[in-house]
Every structure is written in C-alpha cells, then in structure tokens.
Symmetry: C2
Subunit: 634 residues, 2 copies
C-alpha cells in the first residue's frame, strides 16, 4: 500500500477522539481509490473524502482472485463495549501501514440517533479511527436517508391503500388502479402481473376480470391488527414508540395504532446488507412482507405495487462508501442492520468488492456486531450463506475487563465508576472468566475457520493477566492469541496481531461448515443455534408455535434463522456470565424479514427505538463558524 | 458559454419528459463548473452530474460585479400549472445556447412526496428540462434529508425534554443538564449561556444558581397545547396529519396530539432559503420558536440546546447543487420552501453565488412559486429584503388557457378532459381574462422593475389570441410581451423572449421599492399586501388579533409578512378569477417562522401534508435491471 502512512508524534495519554480525528488531514479519496486499484469509472465522488464504489467495479474485477477474508467478532461484552470496531480499524492500519499489504476495512454505517443522544462514536477510537469522523457519523452518503424514504413511502402506501379500499367499490378500485388511456383502454402496470400470477389469474386485460377476480386483485384486504410494517426515523424519538395515526378529519375515523423504529431497524437496511446485485435487491424489496390479509395471506411490497419505486430510491445506496483510516488505508462503509432483530453485519457487496480490489495476498477485514455467539454466528449462517464467501480467519476481541466480569467480577455499567477489581491485577478473576472466551473460540472453530484472539489491552492490564488469556485461548484451539494496543498506538499497536492473522489466513483451508442446513424445520434450526449457546433446549410460546406454522405454510420455512436475544450472555439472561449451560431458551415470538431473507425468533423484548437522556450529546455539538469544523462530537 | 449546445433532431409531437431526458447525455458536472468559472476548490462532487458549490466561491468572487438578475413569476394559474419552471429553463437555454451569454438557472428542489404520488415532475418539461431528471427529483444531494433529520431531532428533543422535566426535581435536572466532571465541577455548555442571558442570569457556575434561578433555567415548561413544532417526512402520508404520540408504556401516559407536515414545509427549509451565511444560519436555527411556555414565553431551539447540532446537520445543505439543462447550461438547485406558509423561492445564497459566477453581462434567472401576487411579492418583500439584491427584470408567464379561464371560461381541473373552449380560438375570452395579467404587471412594475410577459404557447393557441395578450400587456406597461415555444423547441423556442429580457435588464435602473416598510404594525403590513391584491381591507379573527398582540409583545412585530392564501385567485376565493376588487381578506390565524424571519397570516386552510391517490405514480416507477436506468418517472 503506497499510501498507507504510519502515525507519528503520538500523544500520551491518548487525546479525545475528535481531537485525534481533526489532527490528521485526510487524503483525497480519489487517491485512496486509485491506490486500491479502482478506476475513475468505478467511483462516484461525494465530496473530497467520500466516494461511492459502484457495483460495476466488482464486475470489472470478476476474474481477479479474492484476497483473504477476515471477520472480527468479540467475546460476550460488558455494556461499555470491548473495542471491536477499534480493533478492526487498528488491525487494518497495521496490515496496511506496517506489513505493507493491500487491505480494506469493511464497517457498518452508524445510526445518527445515538450520535445526538448518548455519547459514543462508531468510527473506532483513539489512534484507530475512520475519518472524517463527522461525515462518517452524520449523513455519510445518504444511505440511511434513502432507507428511511423507502421505508416510509411503503408505510404511507399501506395506510392510503387501506383507506381507498374502505371507501370504494371493487369496480371503482379497478378503474382507478388501471386507468383508461386516451383510447379508453385499460392495462395492468408491469408490477401488477406478479400479483395476478400469485392469484392464479392469467388474464392480461383488466376489462376481462370477472367480479371474483376483480375483488381478489384490487383488495389487498389488510388485517389492521396484522400489519408488521412500521415507520422509521433515524432519531432517538421515544415518543414515537407507540402512536395512533389517522386522527385527522379527512381520514374519516380510520385510526390505527402503530409505531416507529429507528431507521437502521428497517427491513430495507437488512435487505441492503444481504443483497448481491441490483436485480437481487429489486426482488428482495418486492418480496418484503408488510402484513397479512384478513384471509391470512402474506401481503408483499409488490402486491402494493411499490417494489420498483423502492429500488429506485435505493439505487445509489447499493454502492458502498469508500473512506479512510487515520493511517490512510481504505475503508468501505455499508449498511448497519441491527444485530438482534437483524444480522448485524455490513454488506455482502462491500465485502465482495473489497476482496476483488485487494486481490490475492490482500486482506479484507469485516466486523460482525455484538458477541461472537450472535454476530459471528449470523455472519456465518446468514451472510456467508447468501454471499458464498468463506472467511480465512476469525478474530475474537477480548478485554481483561470483560473476562474479569465473566469470572465473577462486580457489575459494570455505563455512567458508574468502574470497580477497583477492574483496575488492579486479579489473575484468578481473569482465569475464571476465560470460560466465555473458550466457548466463543470453540463455537467459531466449528465453522472450520482459524481463530485468532486479540486482547485489546488497557493501561491497567498486567502481563500476568494477558498470559492467562493467551494460554486459555491456545488450549481452546485458537490459532494464536495476541495482545494489542492500537487504541493508544494506532497500527503500530496491532502489528503482532496483523502477523498472526496473516499466518492464520495463509494456513486456512477447507470449506465453511454451517451450523445447520436450511432444510431443517424452523424449530430444529433454532435448536441447533440454541445448543451452540450451551442451552439444553428451547421452549416455544404458543404464539411462537403458531407463527412457525403460519410462516412454514406461507412457504418461508427454509429461511435461515436470526436470533434476537441479549448480547450480554450466551443465554437469554443478561446476568448469566461466563459460559452458562443447561438453560432452556424461551422463544416468545417468531417474526420474519422475508425480503431480507431470514426468520427472527425473539427472546425477551428488543428495543428498536432508543430515547434521549436529560442532557443529550447535542448540547455540546456545534459548528465553529470561522473554520466550518464540527466541535463537540464524540 | 462555450459548453451550451443547441438541441438537434427535435421530435414532434414532443415525447414524454423522461424519454427526452434520457435521450441527452449530460456533460460531466466538473466541465459545467469550469465553464462557469468555478475552480476545483469551489465544488464538491456528488456523483458525475451533480456538485455542491461551496459558499466560499461567493467569497472568492466577491469583487466581481453581479450579473443581471431576473425573476420569473406567473399569472394566477389554473390547477394544471402554466409552465413557469419550463419557461425558466427554456429562457436560460436560449440565453446560453443561442445568445451565447453566461447564464445560471436558479431552481427550487422538489419534494419527493408528489413524485411518487400524483404524476408531475418539477424539472421543467419537454425540451426544457434539468437533467438527470431522476436525480433532480429524488434525493438530489440530500438537502431535504438533512432538513428532515434536523427537524425531527428537534421534535424528539421537545418531547423528551417535557418527559424529563415532568419526572425530575429542579435540582436533579440541573445536575443532569450540567454534569460534574472528574473533579466534581459542573459547568454550563456554551449554548446554555444564551438562555441564561435571556433569563437575566449572569452567573457562570451552575453551583451558584439559587432555587428560583435553577427553576427558571432548567424548566422550559412547554405548554403542551402551544407546541408549534411538528415532525416532518418527505412522503405524502395523510395518516400522519393528526396523530397521538407517547402511547408506549415507558412514556407513562404522557400522550400528546400532534402531526406531521411534508418535509419541505419545515421552518428549517425556509431558513435554508433565506440564510446568507453559515453564521447567519446558526443564528436563525437557534432562534426558531418551537412553542410557548406556560407563562407565555417563546421557547427557542437554543433554549433546548439544539441550535448547534441543527447547524451541524445542515452544514452541507447550505451549499447549492449544480446541475445542467438539456442544452448544457448550468443550474443551481437549492431549497424548496412552501409558497403559502413560506415564501416559495429558491435560496438567497444560490442566487448570490450565481450572480458572481456569471459576472457582469451574464444572467441569473430565478423562479418564484405560485402566481406573482404570492411568489413575486414574497420574492421582493422577503427574499430581496434579506439578500439586498434587486432584480433587473421580472418575467410573468401567461398561457392562453389560463387567460381564457380568467375571462370566464369553464372550470379547469386535473384528471378532467379540457373543455372545448380551451382548444379552439376564442379571442373574447382571452381579452376578458387579460385583467388578471394586467393586474400582475401593474403590481410588479410598482417595485420599479421592468416586466416582460412570456406567453407559453400551446399548439392550440392562435396568432390572434396571442396578439390580444401582447397588446394588453404593453398597454399595462410591460416592457415587452413575447410568445415562446421552448417546451417543444428548447432554447430555440425562447430566443425572442431572451432578447426581450436582455434589453429589459440593460435598460433597468433605480432602486427596488418595497410594498411596505418593516416598521409598520403587523396589521398595516398585511393591509398593504391585501390592497395589492385588490382587497378593500382585511378582517382579523379574534384569534389573529390576539396572536398579533403576542407576537408583537415577544418582539417579532418588525418581521416581513408572508401571506398564506390560495394561489388560484388574487383574493381568498379560488373561484374569483380575473382581477377581483372590493373584497375583504379574512385572516383566520397568524403564525410566525421567527428563525426563518417572517410572520405568516393564514387565510383559509392550508394543507401541509398531501395524500396518495388510489393508483399512485409509484406503480409505474421501476429500475431497468440491465441498464440501471429509472423508468416510469414523469
């Protein structure tokens, strides 16, 4: 990598993230692209430091052999986070600026909501960050805005359709849905043919539909209590969690209870992350199920005639955004699906483009959300299944702090001072907590992937503590276990990790072994995952059993499974640390993101709309009028 | 203009807009920028055919003399529209490609909502269009998305603040609003100092506030019935017109009735259109009034601590977007405020940059929404007052169709076939309808601006009809009146208009005469505008009288006036065509956009959220998977 440049004059103690980010002048993104082997026709600029990389680049490079593919997961985290993004960025800075290899970091785009709510950037931290940090955290290249627009157009279309169906006869609806042209002829819009086919109607002239066919065609007949589609906004707006719409006089009393999710929880985000081409995205968007008819049929976006419009709204968003790290290595930012109700991984297309761009001997490092039980499992069984890719190495990030917690250390929570146990050496706590790390290593190795453990070192960690972790990791079958200090030293702090990862990749062979085949029943698939957590079995609520039956009947039973559960334990009980066993995983509810392509069983309650605290982060955020620079962002 | 290129091989009858738009390969936007005299450091690319022009370009060119400034208004329109945007684009194509002069078209960004609702593009039409048409109509460079994000962050912040104030003591609020640092010290965030100053508190240490001061500082004390801020979405979502929020269990029963507007109705859009610099935008956003306290005080965005964050969200949106016409002339697209509850003109900064870029002898043509009674009046008395600019010429667009309607022709409405009267020659109807045109000419001339009438000719219009219009216009004092056919012929069809406009500009002199000085009372200012409509006077509802008193007391009485009324008549009665006189204008309600900088009296009811029809335009919209091109957009 000709451009990668080692950071110099590092300051200790490590300054605030925004100060570090502002201290490095980013390179023009065109240069970053060129260095990566992209051609001018492969990219669209979005200002000086961001560019969309077009899917056509993947096509242009299709005959190039893929580079090494590395996924970064973590042990079961504390609520403070264990530095997975930071490690991902630091590792790449090391590979690029110190090993001199081609490398791309693949990251998720963060939601804007938390940026203004409770502090905490998503661009890495310390000397391992993506820059410009404000552009990474806000708007970026508009992908989340596009998702919001598409999601909310769909929502408006649902309510408007219910309104029009309630106020018009079948004939009037048909006449309006298929308006006469100047010669008085009516025809079906192309998207209507899909619905007609589903209904078993082969006629191509609206005038020829008999009354039954007309009724079947024009009435989606939404069951208002079975509408699963919600509106979204990329803001922490807790008062929208549950609302009643349609209270205006023109809406004639057709009120309905519904609610908002934060935008990144939209199924369209999950579609973006899992799609593999424009044609595939068109198909998935059209197949999204919005609700159920009174007769129990799934109603899709294409039934509503809107799949094409959604694709048009998403046609730029399908291209990943190229940015850079502090050390000038390229980053592809794309998609940021939830890690509970969705699969929590950045996009397939970003990884595919990156693997071609770095080519043989190059490296692509992609991050999986939450702990490895959730993020890595979904990476393997959902993302890799759809992409056909196989990782050469999985990095599992651990901290001494989190291991102590798993070993029985006191409660760790944000805003509360960290207990003394976490600041002084305590080898026994660490040793006890390694059960959690060991379980993650074993689970990950079962996919037939080499595992490298990265201990993200804090200043209070001791050599003895780190040695314990290394020993436990190697005994559990890790390929290697390495301490790293990229937060305070940038790429230099992750060189040893980079070398270990490189070796692990070079020695990897064999196929990916999925945890379950798709043709198992939904119940069996859930059980397979639950057992990987250490559960003795699962318990389905009667709702969940009913929902499995419905989904299976509707033809969605062969989708992969995306478990929505707490990230704070292998089990469903956040306080069960370490590696609990023998528990029964209780499945409360089963939902599906049919367009994106997975079924998601829900364990407990998942919040899909955060709130704002009394003093939100926005109080500090402003613009320096003289320089135009953002201040107060963290 | 070296780049402007005349269209060739025009097809008759004129093909569909999207087909024409797709038939012309746009020039790389960097070339358009360069030809306009912009330097690489003046622009940020957004893909190959769009670029943001930075405000710094205006600064760099500050010593260049402005070009000629032309505003395009229209007569009172039919519901079908009279082709004002098309004429604006066609005129510019003629100036650039046929007169060989430097020219910039300044247009508003359209809302995405109607694009998917009822058909009708906003990029001009026929052979006078802005391209790429899909990028113009959808997302563009994300300005409306930024407005939506900023608007909705504010809304979430209001409800969250009400919640936190209701559930915490004064002391707890103070402790959370001013959290202690590691040393246990508390301090005010910079934005809090503005509120303290307003409250007359000079202390700078939170610990020193006495209980009364603490209460005053921490409690915004919103009156829930007096919150004027609404959420917005850029979708035609009628079911959001009136909603109840806060129905989730965590919100503890603190429900509230509120509603959504379409995004372009946000005050932040009006701020964007009227701001003159980043510092000015910061000030205006912070000054936006969100509601009233129980004690009757105006509560601003900066009281809520959010003005800085809003500015950060809007920092890219303040830069206008450069695009191009079919004939390769540059277009600056920026802001699209409502023309009733806001002033309906594109941005001041776009016009300012354009005037410097074209320089002396060049032309900037900007469009004012609705009929001239509304759009042009607000252009002069609000936009020009804030910008300090003066137009050299006003173009008033008329159609034979609309004049016939004003002369007593039958009803014209969308979706209904046009009456025969509009397709065959009827000189008398036209002559009678010229009263409307004459009144607009007289009103516009009163600003001390030359008026050129553009008759936007349809194939069914006759020479005799056009001659009548021309005669009436000249008798009313128009500088010239010209027929043009730019819809079917591009710039070639507007050459005569371009020549007339050029002469009118060259012969213009003297200062702009406003319709009213700002120091009149609110009532007197409204009366002055009402009289320009032909009204005998105004009638204020008791609510309106009360609201004037409150606004005046709050110190907002010296703002300019932005009348919200129907565009279909000079009066408040849409069916009163021609030039009605003697009516009394009834003012139902008085509101203010204090941050943007105007008071808006409301006459009748203004819809700020459209709906979707039974068959929305989205049924036709899709992507051609093979080419990636958008189809079905109109």
């Amino acid at each position: 990598m000709g451009l990668a440049r080692r950071l110099e004059n590092l300051v200790s103690p490590t300054p605030a993230d925004i100060d570090i980010a502002n201290s490095v002048q980013p390179l023009p993104i065109g240069i970053i692209a060129q260095d990566l082997g992209l051609k001018p026709e492969d990219i669209h600029f979005y200002g000086p430091y961001k560019a969309k990389v077009l899917l056509s680049a993947r096509e242009r490079l299709k005959d190039v052999q893929d580079g090494y593919y590395i996924v970064v997961g973590g042990i079961t985290p504390t609520p403070l986070g264990e530095g997975k993004s930071t490690t991902t960025v630091g590792l790449c800075q090391a590979i690029g600026a110190f090993l001199g290899k081609k490398v791309v970091t693949a990251l998720r785009q963060p939601s804007q909501g938390p940026t203004f709510g409770i502090k905490g950037g998503a661009a890495g931290g310390g000397y391992s960050q993506v820059i410009p940090m404000d552009e990474f955290n806000l708007h970026m290249t508009g992908d989340i805005h596009a998702i919001t627009a598409a999601n909310n157009l769909t929502a408006a279309a649902i309510d408007a359709r219910i309104f029009h169906e309630a106020t018009q006869s079948d004939k009037a609806l048909l006449n309006r849905l298929c308006p006469a042209d100047k010669e008085g002829n009516r025809k079906f819009a192309p998207v209507m043919l899909k619905r007609l086919k589903k209904l078993g109607i082969t006629k191509t002239n609206p005038a020829e539909l008999n009354p039954e066919e007309t009724k079947a065609f024009v009435r989606l007949d939404f069951d208002k209590d079975q509408i699963t589609w919600k509106r979204v906004v990329d803001v922490n707006d807790r008062f929208l969690r549950k609302i009643t719409v349609g209270q205006g006089p023109e809406e004639k009393g057709m009120t309905r209870e519904t609610g908002y999710d934060i935008a990144v929880a939209s199924e369209i985000m999950a579609v973006l992350a899992l799609t593999t081409s424009l044609a595939d995205m068109r198909e998935r968007l059209g197949n999204m199920v919005l609700g159920t008819s009174k007769a129990g049929h799934a109603i899709t976006a294409d039934d509503l005639g809107i799949g094409g419009a959604l694709t048009v709204l998403m046609k730029e968003a399908i291209n990943p955004t190229l940015m850079q790290t502090l050390e000038g290595t390229p980053v592809l930012v794309h998609a940021g699906p939830f890690a509970n109700i969705a699969h929590g991984n950045s996009s397939i297309v970003a990884d595919q483009i990156a693997l071609k761009a770095v080519g043989p001997g190059g490296f692509v490092v992609t991050e999986a959300g939450f702990g490895a039980d959730i993020g890595l499992e979904k990476f393997m069984n959902i993302k890799c299944r759809y992409s056909g890719l196989k990782p050469h190495c999985a990095v599992i990030v651990a901290t001494i702090r989190a291991l102590k917690m798993h070993g029985g250390g006191p409660d760790v929570s944000p805003g509360k001072p960290l207990d003394h146990a976490y600041k002084a050496e305590n080898v026994e706590l660490v040793r006890a907590g390694c059960s959690n790390l060991v379980k993650h290593i074993q689970n990950t190795k079962a996919y037939n992937v080499n595992v490298v453990v990265a201990v993200n070192v804090f200043v209070t960690d001791t050599e003895a503590e780190i040695a314990v972790v290394r020993q436990a990791a190697l005994e559990a079958g890790a390929y290697d276990a390495v301490a790293c200090t990229h937060h305070s030293h940038g790429g230099k702090g992750a060189v040893e990790l980079a070398i270990a990862v490189k070796k692990a990749c070079e020695e990897q062979s064999g196929d990916l072994k999925f945890l379950y085949p798709l043709n198992l029943s939904v119940r069996e698939k859930i059980e397979a995952i639950a057992k990987s957590y250490g559960a003795a079995g699962i318990e389905l609520s009667s709702d969940a059993e009913q929902q499995i039956e419905t989904l299976t009947k509707q033809g969605f039973g062969d989708l992969p499974i995306c478990i929505a559960k707490t990230q704070y334990s292998f089990s469903h009980i956040p306080s069960a640390k370490g590696a609990p066993t023998g528990f029964i995983l209780p499945i409360r509810e089963i939902k599906a993101s049919v367009g994106a392509g997975f079924i998601y069983p829900i364990i407990g309650t998942m919040s899909t709309m955060p709130g704002l605290p009394t003093r939100p982060a926005y109080y500090e955020i402003d613009i320096d009028i003289k320089t135009g620079k953002v201040v107060g962002l963290s």
